[in-house]
């Protein structure tokens, strides 16, 4: 399943997509949990009893601001979360 967490508002569309099929058998040892400087990801058991990662509830309404520090304007050449996620399960829509 591709889970899209986020929102669209007047300033744009801000979604973090997690491809849970790639997430189930994570080859990166859940590096995203520590890779994100703000700790925005957490483990969860989905409806099909698979262990996957999701974006924490409290961050889902503020992605444009919470992720801003990791964007190129914040001095990062690449996003820490997508870099840590070597299976390529995490994507940003903006």
């Amino acid at each position: 399943m591709i889970a899209n967490y986020g929102y669209k508002d007047g300033s744009g569309e801000y979604y973090i997509s997690i491809d849970t099929d790639r997430c189930i058998s994570c080859a990166a040892g859940r590096a995203c949990l520590t890779g994100c400087p703000k700790g925005m990801f957490e483990n969860m058991t989905d409806d099909y009893d698979d262990e996957v990662v999701q974006v924490k509830q409290q961050f889902r309404r503020n992605l444009a601001y919470d992720c801003a520090d990791c964007k190129p304007s914040g001095g990062h050449a690449s996003l820490p979360c997508t870099t840590a996620c070597t299976p390529g399960a995490i994507k940003h829509s903006w």
Binding site: N4, G6, K8, D9, E13, D47, R61
Partner: protein, 264 residues
Amino acid sequence: MYTAGIDMGSRTVKVVIIDNDAAGAPSVKKTHLMFPGDVDGDAAADKAYDDALAAAGLRRDEVRAVFATGAGRKTVNFATDSVTEMSAGAKGVSYFFPSARTIVDVGAEEGRGVKTDGNGKAIDFAGNEKCAAGAGSFAEAMSRALQMTLTEFGEASLRSDKSIPMNAQCTVFAESEVVSLIHSATPKEDIAKAVLDAVASRVCAMVRRVGIDKDVVLIGGMVHNPGFVQALKSSMDVDEVKLPEIPEFVSALGCALLAAEARQ
């Protein structure tokens, strides 16, 4: 074997009890909808479930499993398990329309798009965590501004062929846009259409994230608004949007079906 599903929505509690031993396929034994008012989550779930059981002539111990879903699913303390709205909706829709691939779920406070695999399993979803402008409460607030009931509001929009864009993304600002339209003597039916076009446009933007594949099914309370259904069809550019018989109960039904599967 009886199983039940409870959908604890932000506005209403929906309960579905199914009889899994009916000939052919599981059949809906009873549906029950309750407006909890100022009753808290625990008590509302208890009361809605007890009322549904009484109407079905059943006792609690005759129901083998109860699954909960919805924004308040964690408050249903007697539920044997809980599932997300996406899984419940996908399962419920597959009961009515096995050919469904795209589900649009628009309730009171949230809208979401779900892609399914044809076997009642959600494979992709997108919602809007932030904004109420793509949900039923937005239409309700705007109908209040026009001093119309929701039914009148939906029917009025069908009498308009005007296309008035609403620019505001936020319910609060949109209401001021509606007030401006009222002051400029814009006919109510044109304003109603503008509002429902705006809701449909926001919902459609979410659904496009998961992709629009036929058949498209709309569930949730907004199914009862014919103006919204028309606006959604136009916005998604599809000829047909399938509507289940009991649109607001589909997720609760999905829960009951998932509960039955878990018990088998």
